[in-house]
């Protein structure tokens, strides 16, 4: 075991020696520096390994052959080893990454870089406060030096501001240190820990000075303008070092000083941390410059870590897990992003679209962004989850809210950025050339990220249960992305089928229904994927990611597993949605609502654990504290997925712009995830002893209004897919309403609707999508008369709309009939009537859908389009079969459903007498009605057929209109704005108030941040003023107050 002092010895020895060796050329010196860094990394790694696996014990290193306090000593403990390993590793990789830029500045620069890394190690290890100060100064000076790698005035002034700031900070620190010595007669940190400084006269003040310095080193908001300029001005490689290594070291310094500062400081550290986290993320949302934005994000992350440190007593044993989980995610991801920003020479966020020209970098970028936000399976996800749960357990709910708000803000700008990268125009930017030594470190970071993800999920006692098989399958698909569609498609379908075969025995009926909707539905929609040619890069992996998440929430036993699956599903669906042509903004708003919803869920899960940690998902059935709020949060979170009015604005665009076979996935299938969540919540609520009736009542109204507004908006759409999207909103409104009734019939209705909506919305979206693929437009008025060209599509749509409209004899009527009975029985007449009225509106848009596309006059440019692709037709007709079965034998579906629900709602069930269903109010026999109508239909058809058997088909324009024969389909096909009259009557109801509201909110945040961030005037003196004021105000708060 090499003693850690050799980290210092190597760093300095090589550094000094280079003075002579520089005549062997810069490559040699560069290699030497790298070798030294490698050796240092090796030392810290072996210590980390030894300490982690217990073959070593924490060791003191004494200098000068005297014991402390008479001489300086270093400590290499477990945390020290981790920190120094992180520092050295990023130092090594950064050295490789910056090899050329360092070389360009000569051997001196290389030396400075090496010593910077070395000094950070000492910061971590030293146990002598004055020695700490000395090496802090080395670090500051070295950083001020390496900034200059970038030859520009900007970096120069940034460096100068940095020196000024660190000068002030070190003055404060030095004063604190000497007075500490004056009071205690020692400089050794361990002694400070032993003797509590506070007991001395003036000890509090001394601690205050040292704490201030330590905190200011972490660039607390708002006294951190210099830090931001640093991030923006420095070479990206250096920014990576600052945000990765130097932040780690400074955090460690704070950790050391907190050790003897006394418990009362924890609160203030946490406070400053949360202010930093929220504040800098708030300013982040208005950044257009990538590096500065990343700077804001880094500072925010460090703020979050300060919060964790501040709560270390509350979190207890899980502190290291949470701290290092967050720290490592930030460390790896941020380094990777900064390095990427060095390769993708794009200052402005929009220009990041050029990254699409390097697909693998796009993948890396996605990895890093999702890791920063804290998506599974990355360590930050588990850390955040544990953090929130432990905070709520101890009742710090306000803190949880603040943390989640900050994360939300961070998500906003990171995903905006990612959206630009994935979508915005990139033809005008030319591809950057990539040298290997720059991309390798990024890859290493990404791989390490995945490695750690797996490791953390294992090391976290709560997450062991998580099932990683689906994720592994997704990863496999990522690897096989180069293969052609038909292989990947078959693979995915087989995988899903096999997985379904694996899981379905373990599921109770209710979960089975949703699993069928998710997996079988997924397989059906995937079949349509065969219609695509080429490799269709990335599609299958992300689609399967979504399905992996969906099945995960079905299988979830614990809240952690549920949340895990929920976030996976969100991520996958986000990628699916953003694949659409013009869906950048829609994908963003989808993501924002999803994350907001997810955080609501997280908070609710947290609240459900107040008092005791119990991860069992059934725990939400026994919420004791703030139960109503918890349920409200849960419902809110799930409503974001069911796109209820107010939270729906993402849906029309997202579904409308998505690819043809993606729309059914995200509409017919994904929305049911929200329904599933609602079902779980309401069951729990029903079982619990909390006062939920008002909640359910409000939910009922919300559902009704959603149904109305969704259908009403659908009536006035010109775009077929948006029409269907709005119709989905309406349908989900029905379901929410029916669930809110909290009666047996209500839930029966809800489940009937869920199944029906899954079938007919899949049929419609698939068919329309296939048609769109053929005719190349979403706009209905550009189509027409297509029945002549694509009868198969027409029949499918016809069945679909009859089922959707609820006209007997098809299965839609079952829902309507149940609805009447349920509403009558529950007594929610007005809500019910709103629902029925919306059902009436459905006819308007359904007729319009089928008429303007398939009937009327065929357009000239569609005279010889082919019928829809067989690959779309297959799933469609399978689903039609399903609808038919449901229509002929509704009892086959409704009876099992009823039995399934009776445990939850024992009273008011349907009574069955053969095919006859009875409620207290009405009766209905789906089978008989079907038979009657079909027979009748056939008889009439027969008569007509007999009487008109000689009829031959007329040509398109064989009609007379205003006394002459039309010849242009455009003039003859009534398609555009057909409901103008109706609109004149109901327009006040169609004003998009919700969208306006959200726009207002966005503007408010944007303008607010844009205005307040002006305190960062860029003037060095102003920054120093901020620092000094920060000190004074904190002083007033803590000591003077």
């Amino acid at each position: 075991m090499v003693t850690p002092i050799y980290i210092v010895a190597t760093g300095l020895g090589v550094g000094f020696a280079i003075g002579i060796l520089k005549k062997f050329g810069k490559n040699f010196t560069g290699a030497l520096v790298l070798a030294a860094l490698a050796f240092m990394t090796f030392i810290s790694f072996q210590w980390f390994y030894g300490l982690h696996y217990g073959s070593e014990v924490a060791t003191y290193v004494y200098t000068a052959g005297f014991k402390p306090p008479f001489s300086i000593n270093l400590l290499m403990g477990q945390y020290e080893s981790i920190a120094s390993l992180m520092i050295n590793a990023i130092g090594l990789l950064g050295g490789i990454y910056m090899f050329n830029s360092l070389k360009a500045r000569g051997s001196d620069a290389q030396v400075v870089y090496l010593i910077l890394i070395m000094a950070m190690n000492v910061l971590v290890m030293t146990r002598d406060i004055f020695n700490l100060f000395v090496f802090l100064e080395i670090v500051s000076i070295a950083i001020a030096g390496v900034i200059l790698l970038e030859k520009s005035d900007r970096s120069m002034s940034a460096g100068f501001k940095y020196i000024l700031a660190s000068g002030i900070i070190s003055t404060i620190l030095l004063l604190g240190i000497v007075f500490a010595y004056y009071l205690t007669g020692t400089l050794n940190i361990d002694d400070f820990v032993g003797i509590s400084l506070n007991t001395y006269k003036g000890g509090g003040l001394v601690i205050f000075l040292m704490m201030m310095a330590a905190i200011l080193e972490l660039k607390p908001f708002p006294a951190n303008g210099w830090g931001l300029d640093l991030y923006e001005g420095a070479d990206p490689g250096i920014s990576a070092i600052i945000s990765g290594a130097s932040a780690t070291a400074s955090l460690f310094v704070l950790y050391k000083i907190m050790a003897f500062a006394g418990a009362e400081w924890n609160y203030y550290v946490a406070l400053i941390g949360i202010i930093t986290f929220v504040g800098s993320n708030f300013f982040g949302i208005v950044q257009e410059n990538t590096r500065r934005m990343l700077g804001y994000s880094s500072i925010g992350q460090i703020g979050l870590l300060m919060v964790v440190l501040g709560f270390k007593d509350v979190l207890g044993d899980s502190t290291p897990f949470i701290l290092f989980g967050l720290l490592i995610s930030h460390y790896l991801a941020k380094a990777g992003l900064f390095w990427l920003s060095g390769i993708i020479k794009a200052k402005d966020l929009k220009e990041w679209s050029v990254i699409r020209k390097h697909p693998y970098f796009l993948f890396l970028m996605g990895t890093f962004v999702f890791a920063l936000i804290g998506f599974p399976p990355f360590p930050s996800f588990f850390s955040k989850f544990n953090f929130v749960l432990l905070l709520t357990e101890t009742g710090n709910i306000a803190w949880v809210i603040a943390i989640l708000a900050g994360s939300m803000l961070e998500a906003i700008y990171l995903f905006r950025w990612f959206g630009y990268a994935v979508k915005s125009e990139n033809s005008h930017i030319e591809k950057n050339k990539v040298c290997l030594h720059k991309s390798i470190p990024i890859w290493i970071m990404a791989l390490a990220l995945y490695g750690f993800s797996y490791y953390t999920s294992l090391s976290n006692p709560w997450s062991i249960a998580i099932n990683f098989i689906p994720l592994a399958f997704v990863a496999l698909l990522f690897v096989l992305d180069f293969l052609p569609v038909y292989i990947k498609n078959s693979l995915s379908i087989l995988g899903m089928a096999y997985y379904f075969y694996l899981v379905y025995p373990q599921l109770d009926n209710m979960r089975l229904i949703f699993e069928v909707i998710f997996i079988v539905g997924g397989i059906l929609t995937l079949i349509a994927g065969f219609a695509y040619k080429g490799t269709r890069p990335g599609f299958h992996a992300v689609a399967l990611l979504m399905f992996a998440g969906l099945t995960a929430i079905i299988e979830a036993k614990t809240t952690l597993e549920f949340f895990f699956g929920w976030e996976l599903m969100t991520a996958g669906s986000y990628f699916l949605i953003i694949r659409g042509k013009r869906s950048m903004t829609h994908a963003l708003s989808y993501m924002m609502f999803s994350i907001g919803g997810a955080y609501a869920l997280l908070a609710a899960f947290g609240i459900s654990n107040v008092g005791q940690i119990n991860l069992d998902l059934n725990q939400i059935g026994h919420i004791s504290y703030l139960s109503t709020w918890a349920y409200a949060l849960l419902i809110l979170g799930f409503l974001t997925k069911t796109a209820s009015v107010g939270l729906h604005i993402w849906l029309p665009g997202a579904h409308g712009e998505a690819e043809s076979d993606v729309s059914p996935m995200v509409s017919a299938i994904l929305l049911k995830a929200g329904v599933f969540g609602l079902v779980l919540t309401l069951i729990a609520m029903n079982g619990s002893d909390s006062q939920w009736s008002n909640l359910a009542y409000a939910l009922g109204w919300l559902g009704a209004i959603t149904a109305l507004s969704g259908n009403l908006m659908a009536v006035f759409q010109e775009d077929a897919k948006r029409l269907l999207a709005y119709s989905s909103i309406g349908q989900l409104g029905y379901i929410v309403f029916a669930l809110a009734m909290m009666t047996h019939l209500g839930w029966l209705t809800a489940f009937t609707y869920s199944i029906n909506h899954f079938m007919y919305k899949a049929i419609l979206f698939l068919t329309i999508g296939a048609v769109v693929l053929r005719v190349g437009t979403h706009d209905m008025y550009k189509m027409g008369g297509l029945i002549a060209r694509m009868p198969m599509a027409f029949i499918a749509v016809l069945i679909g709309i009859i089922a959707l409209s609820g006209v007997p004899p098809l299965s839609g009527f079952a829902g309507k009939w149940l609805f009447y009975n349920a509403v009558m029985e529950k007594g929610w007449y007005f809500q019910g009537i709103i629902i029925f009225f919306s059902g009436g509106l459905a006819f308007l848009y359904l007729w319009r859908l089928i008429h303007t596309i398939f009937l009327g006059q065929l357009k000239d440019n569609h005279r010889n389009v082919k019928d829809i692709s067989i690959w779309f037709a297959i799933p469609v007709y399978i689903l039609i079969g399903g609808i038919m079965v449901f229509s002929v034998r509704p009892d086959w579906v409704l009876q099992p459903l009823g039995n399934m629900l009776s445990p939850f709602f024992p009273t008011g069930q349907l009574n069955w007498d053969h095919s006859y269903a009875y409620t207290t109010l009405g009766y209905w026999s789906g089978t008989n009605v079907f038979i009657t109508i079909v027979i009748l239909f056939l008889i009439v058809f027969g008569i007509l057929a007999l009487s008109t058997r000689k009829a031959h088909k007329l040509k398109q324009f064989d009609i007379t209109y205003s006394g002459e024969k039309p010849f242009r389909p455009e003039t003859t096909h009534v398609a555009w704005n057909v409901f103008a009259g109706f609109y004149k009557a109901v327009w006040p109801a169609t004003i998009p108030l919700v969208a306006k509201f959200w726009d207002y909110v966005t503007d408010f945040f944007h303008d607010g941040a844009g205005f307040t961030r002006r305190i960062y005037s860029g003037n060095g003196q102003a920054y120093m003023m901020h620092i000094l004021y920060f000190i004074i105000i904190t002083y007033i708060v803590i000591i003077g107050g």
């Binding site: 200098t63 090496f135 200059l148």
Partner: protein
């Protein structure tokens, strides 16, 4: 105007903070335990008459290493920061020729200054002074030469050699401490003996290390001065 008020407030605030600090202070009448230990055992453990030197070089030798490093880093940064382009290297700093007095004085004084500097760091363990002081004194000599002749060329090669050899030697001595003595930078080297107290060759290897430090500091500062002088060419 507002700015001035803010500044005034800041200064008042710090006045308050510092006043509290001031109130903490009470005149000491005896040493802290730590200092007491040094005063008692410093002489026979290290054998240096100058306790400060013993502390600086031995007890807190690690700090000293840090100081050297700081100077070194600063020098390195400055030397690549102020690096001139080839064409500028050849430029001659156009300044009015310096006075006879200064030139002559420099010729007379510089050797003496160097000598004095060497003396100061050689005797760092006996008298007030030491490596840093000596080094700075030498550097003042260099400064004087530069002033006397703005276009005066220092042989950077030599400077670099001195600088890095002495630096490496310092670190090497430290490593030797790990191998032979009781830890990094343990420069008493148990068994080597500390020499007769009060004479030049006492206090173990302190004089040697301090001489290295002195040379290094002198070299570094002169290096910095040299860069400053040259960088006028780029203006």
């Amino acid at each position: 105007m507002l700015k001035n008020i803010l500044i005034a407030l800041v200064l008042i605030g710090f006045g308050v903070i510092f006043y509290d600090l001031f109130m903490v202070y009470e005149a000491k009448t005896e040493l802290t335990d730590l200092a007491h230990y040094y005063a008692k055992n410093g002489a026979n453990e290290i054998g240096g008459a100058n306790l400060v030197t013993s502390i600086v070089v031995t007890y807190r030798g690690f700090d000293t290493l840090g100081e050297v490093t700081i100077l070194f880093v600063a020098a390195s940064i400055i030397s690549f920061f102020l690096k001139l382009k080839e064409d500028e290297e050849e430029k001659v700093i156009g300044s009015k020729d310096t006075t006879e007095l200064l030139v002559t004085a420099s010729q007379v004084l510089v050797p003496l200054i160097f000598l004095f500097g060497v003396y100061v760091f050689m005797n760092g363990h006996l008298t007030p002074g030491g490596g840093f002081q000596g080094g700075s004194i030498i550097a003042t000599g260099v400064a004087l030469m530069i002033m006397a002749n703005p276009n005066f060329k220092i042989n950077t090669q030599i400077i670099h050699w001195i600088e890095s050899i002495s630096g490496v030697a310092f670190v090497f001595a430290g490593v030797l401490g790990v191998l032979l003595g009781g830890g990094f930078l343990d420069n008493t080297f148990k068994g080597l003996g500390v020499g007769e107290f009060g004479t030049l060759f006492s206090a173990g290897v302190i004089p040697i290390i301090y001489s290295f430090v002195g040379l290094k500091v002198g070299a570094e500062i002169s290096n910095i001065l040299n860069k400053y002088q040259k960088s006028q060419k780029s203006i």
